[in-house]
Amino acid sequence: MVRIKERYLLVNILYPSDSAQPPKPGLPSHIQLHQPTTDTMTPGSLLRGIKKEVEILYGDYGAGMLNGLQIKYLSLATSTFIIKCSRAMCSMLWSALTFMSRIPNKDGTGKQCIFRVVRVSGTIRKVEEEAIRQSRALIVAAKQEASEAQSSISGITRQTADMQAPAQSHFATVDDSDESMDDADG
């Protein structure tokens, strides 16, 4: 039996603090960074934005390769989504996401943001596990920061909190553990 091999990407939409829009005082930096996505982004518009970006980066070849893309999960409240793609175009998709700098909504007036790929895996289960782990870490970090901000006066503690904060790494982990299984199947 031929098994179609796929990759699942866990992507965070991040909003780094803008110099034009100073952050609200007393608000934990994590909440600022992981704030909900307010633009009306639908799975369709997200896919369209990605396709456009891939076309810019890879031309017709990239656009042609881009099939089987599917949004498995899109949570605007937590600015997280899981996207499925074929294994061959995984890196293409990742680079396109890296180059996207705005929320791709309908009228093209999306907020400035960063798409960060947190985890790449062959199974959706591992991606989901990672998303859970990350959410937990974020809750803990945000709560801790908030309590520290309340107790201390100035923003000096901000830095320490930043350092202690979430256990998330800044690099996406690529999980190929299912590979051997796939090959044995095929």
Binding site: K24, I31, P36, Y73, L74, S75, T80, I82, K143
Partner: protein, 897 residues
């Protein structure tokens, strides 16, 4: 995709409920819904339009819940079917989709899945024939049914008419009829038992083992069109069994085989004549006929060895056999006329060489006066073989001696009972026999677990029994060898009757043997593997053919004290076990016997077929195998243990190439011709035993001890270093050191010298080839030389840096680089010696689990190794083995077996 839709409306609704709603036939839609992960809209993460901690945490908590739920659902909602949950031991081949074929606890689930999937379920009765043959068959069956029905009604009618008249007469039909004793002809082959009608057609050109039905469901059987040795053999269990077999046969547990296909021949007559006949067929060892063989001749030991027969070229091996005598009755009066004395001897041989031995025996029996006679007991006596530490335990829980009222227990039965706690039948005196009667094992079914060993005192008692072994006292003839007793034992009550009797007693208690339960006479043979007492031995249980099945059921369901049950195995496992114990396996490892030749020719055909079925790009092209030093092409036929090539015998290929291509009939004629020529070529091989070989080696070159023509020695080969070799691998001896070239003569006639020199030592091969190979020995001091050629692995950053520096500063390799495989193979392996040093072929070879390294059984030409062996016994034992079609050889050590 549906995430935003689903989540926004009802965030706390578990998707399982939705799945149920959707689950009206549309499975894929239901699955899609189940897989959707609910998500929230961004508004919930704001508090009065502001970012804040509380809604942020709530949103993330919701996400965690949603993802966890999704994972749990997709786990239960997965795509596995009920039959995939069936334990491995219970898996069957066919129709797994049928809910009736899965265990009871999974049946409901399977039913549900079947309904959901709309799995088509065809019963055999309602199947429509698809092929013409099937249609014709069905029509015939229909006609036969009508005929049978008509016949039946007619008979009933007649009986009714007759019944009115004959009511007063005593009913003859109701009297229990005595079953007819099967006919055993003297000096002739016997018919197999007549199978039941519905199974008769399937056994036209083969015979089922007594446990065929059981095995056919659980094992891969021999293809029905090509029965092996005219039996339906189980080849291997459906389960993966390679490693379990390795563990069960040596470390823990037990392996059992139904070996009923082994043939038994009975030889009857006066002892002196029998001795002459046995000597003629190869039982020539002195230890059989002098005082040492007294116990054997009394019938308390068996003898196992190779039989041989006289041919024009000398004695030729025929097959391994086990021979034992039936003890003479104790009350026998000494007969004055020795010729009037009567004894019986039984030979157990492999079916591959049964007819050969039978004809041979027949010939010699007829030449004796007064004449001896033989009986073919093939379908009279069946056997089960057990090996492994728990084998004795299994026998103890299955075999219960048959109690006879008023008579003391049989001595052998007592002896058998005293073996409790024995873990290795090889620890008993060599080749002991126990003969006694057991009761029907179904009376004590299922067998119970034996209590473990009882302590030091019991061990001491066991040791005393083993060392004393009082088997000779009160010795009686073995009932198994008595035709009447065998026949009586074959009249076992039906399973239904046993079940009815069992339903009347308290559950858990055993049935008592009643007068309708006959005693089952058995003979137990214990044997060692090889000569060592350390290696696991084996038990062979001989019993009447018809009693094998109930005994088998009890054996395979016997719980072991170490956990689990004994594992059954097939033909391939007999080979594996023999290989792991370092023993040659009949017939594959005996190319000097007729059966071995037949096997080899068979395997050649199988390998050729398999090879020709591969795509051209994926199969080995024998003519282009690069052996290094410019040598191209495999030596001989790569798909054969090509002894014709080794000894320069006429090859079957010659006939093949000459004959014309074309029509079917031509091809068939050609096939028969080739098999005839090749079998005659291979049958010119002769065997030299280990003892004879050592004798030859010790004798020195001067003596007149002659080596038979085309003499082969069976050897066990253990690879010294890494690597494994497969069957058909080539065996080389170590290349000789080239003779120093005489300088003066070289200068005079430079052009004419090479021919003679190059035949003995090909100039293309490096001169230090022998030294290169000897350097591969792990314990040799020359191992340092190997390290200089090979780069040590760079493990630390420092060494890596040094390596880079070395690479940068060293001279660049000249371009074009020298041709590969000229001086060595891949820069690591020495070249294989030339074809002059080819000494033999591997018949069985793979990684040996008990050795932990590659190992093989092969046959080598005696005259090729004798010189080297005489010169240096340790270096003479070294050889190089190379798998067919490969160019890397491995250093190995052989020892004669």
């Amino acid at each position: 995709m549906s995430s935003s839709k689903g989540g926004s409306s009802q965030p706390n609704n578990p998707p399982t409920k939705k799945r149920k709603l959707d689950n009206n036939g549309n499975k894929s839609a239901a699955r899609r819904v189940a897989r959707a992960i609910p998500a929230q809209l961004p508004e919930v993460a704001f508090e009065n339009g502001e970012l804040n901690l509380q809604p942020f945490v709530a949103a993330h908590e919701f996400e965690i819940r949603a993802l966890e739920q999704s994972m749990a659902i997709s786990k239960t909602q997965g795509a596995t079917r009920a039959f995939q949950k069936v334990p491995r031991g219970l898996r069957r081949r066919a129709a797994s989709h049928n809910p009736k074929r899965v265990p009871k606890r999974l049946r409901a689930r399977a039913q549900k899945e079947k309904a959901e999937d709309n799995t088509p379920l065809v019963t055999a009765r309602r199947r429509k024939p698809t092929t013409t043959t099937a249609r014709i068959r069905m029509e015939t069956a229909k006609k036969l049914r009508t005929l049978a029905f008509r016949k039946k009604t007619f008979r009933e009618k007649r009986a009714r008419a007759a019944g009115a008249r004959a009511e007063t007469l005593p009913d003859k039909a109701k009297q229990p009829q005595r079953a007819r004793r099967p006919k055993i002809r003297r000096n002739a082959l016997n018919e197999p038992p007549r199978p039941r009608g519905r199974f008769r057609k399937r056994q036209k050109n083969k015979i089922w083992l007594p446990t065929h039905m059981w095995h056919a469901k659980r094992a891969r059987m021999m293809s029905p069109k090509e029965p092996l040795w005219r039996f339906a053999m189980p080849l291997r269990p459906n389960e993966k069994i390679y490693r379990p077999t390795h563990r069960m046969q040596g470390d823990r547990g037990a392996v059992v085989w139904d070996m009923s296909y082994m043939s038994t021949i009975g030889l009857y007559g006066h002892p002196a004549g029998m001795e002459r006949v046995l000597k003629r067929i190869g039982v020539t060892h002195d230890s059989c006929w002098n005082d040492k063989g007294k116990k054997w001749r009394a019938g308390t030991r068996s003898w196992s060895g190779m039989l041989s027969r006289e041919t024009k070229q000398g004695r030729r091996q025929s097959c391994p056999a086990t021979i034992f005598w039936n003890p003479a009755p104790a009350d026998r009066v000494a007969v004055e006329d020795l010729k009037k004395d009567r004894r019986q001897v039984f030979l157990r041989v492999h079916p591959a060489s049964f007819s050969e031995l039978f004809n041979e025996l027949l010939r010699w029996c007829k030449s004796e006066t007064p004449q001896l006679y033989i009986e073919d007991l093939r379908f009279e006596i069946g056997s089960i073989e057990l090996t492994g530490p728990a084998s004795t335990e299994v026998l103890h829980s299955v075999l219960t001696p048959y109690p006879v009222a008023g008579e003391p227990k049989s001595k052998h039965a007592e002896l058998f009972a005293s073996l409790k706690g024995l873990t290795n039948p090889a620890a008993l005196p060599q080749n002991v026999i126990l003969g006694f009667s057991i009761q029907d094992p179904r009376l004590r079914y299922p067998p119970r677990k034996q209590s473990p060993a009882q302590g030091e005192a019991a061990d001491m008692k066991l040791l005393e029994t083993v060392s004393g072994w009082p088997a000779e006292t009160a010795l009686k003839p073995y009932a198994l060898l008595d035709r009447e007793a065998r026949h009586e034992a074959s009249q076992l009550p039906t399973q239904g009757l046993v079940n009815r009797r069992r339903s009347k007693i308290t559950p858990g208690s055993f049935l008592k043997p009643s007068p309708i339960d006959p005693a089952i006479p058995i003979v137990l043979l214990a044997s060692r593997s090889g000569s060592s007492t350390q290696a696991q031995g084996k038990w062979t249980l001989l019993a009447p053919w018809k009693c094998i099945q109930p005994i088998w059921y009890s054996i395979v369901h016997c719980p072991l004290s170490t956990g689990g049950n004994p594992r059954f195995a097939g033909l391939e496992q007999t080979r594996q076990v023999a290989f792991e114990r370092g023993l040659p396996w009949f017939p594959a490892d005996f190319p000097t016997t007729d059966a071995g030749v037949a096997w080899e020719l068979d395997q050649r055909a199988v390998r050729t077929l398999k090879w020709s079925r591969r795509p051209k790009s994926k199969r080995t092209e024998w003519s282009t195998v690069d052996l290094g030093a410019g040598r191209k092409g495999e030596l001989g036929d790569g798909l054969a243990c090509d002894f014709e090539y080794l000894f320069g015998l006429p090859r079957p290929d010659d006939a093949e190439t000459q004959s014309t291509e074309g029509a079917m009939d031509v091809e068939q004629g050609q096939v028969s011709q080739t098999t005839a020529t090749s079998s005659s070529a291979l049958s010119a091989l002769h065997h030299v035993s280990r003892k004879a070989f050592l004798g030859l080696a010790r004798a020195g070159e001067g003596t007149a001890l002659s080596i038979p023509l085309n003499a082969l020695l069976t050897v066990r080969i253990r690879l010294v270093t890494r690597g494994t070799v497969g069957p058909c691998a080539r065996i080389y001896r170590l290349p000789a050191t080239p003779p120093p070239v005489p300088v003066a003569s070289d200068a005079e006639v430079p052009a004419t010298i090479p021919p003679s020199a190059s035949t003995s030592f090909p100039s293309a091969l490096p001169h230090d080839l022998r030294a290169q190979w000897l350097a591969k020995l792990p314990d040799s001091t020359a191992a340092g030389a190997k390290d200089t050629t090979r780069q040590p692995r760079a493990t630390t950053p420092e060494s890596r840096r040094q390596r880079i520096v070395r690479e940068l500063t060293s001279k660049p390799t000249p371009w074009p680089s020298t041709k590969s495989n000229l001086r060595d193979i891949g820069g690591q392996h020495p070249l294989c010696p030339s074809s002059n040093d080819l000494i033999g072929f591997v018949t069985t070879g793979e990684f040996c689990l008990s050795d932990g390294r590659g190992s093989a059984i092969g046959s080598i030409a005696v005259d090729m190794v004798l010189g080297g062996f005489r010169a240096d016994e340790t270096e003479g034992r070294l050889c190089i083995v190379r798998s067919a079609g490969e160019n890397v050889g491995w250093l190995a050590r052989w020892e004669a077996v």
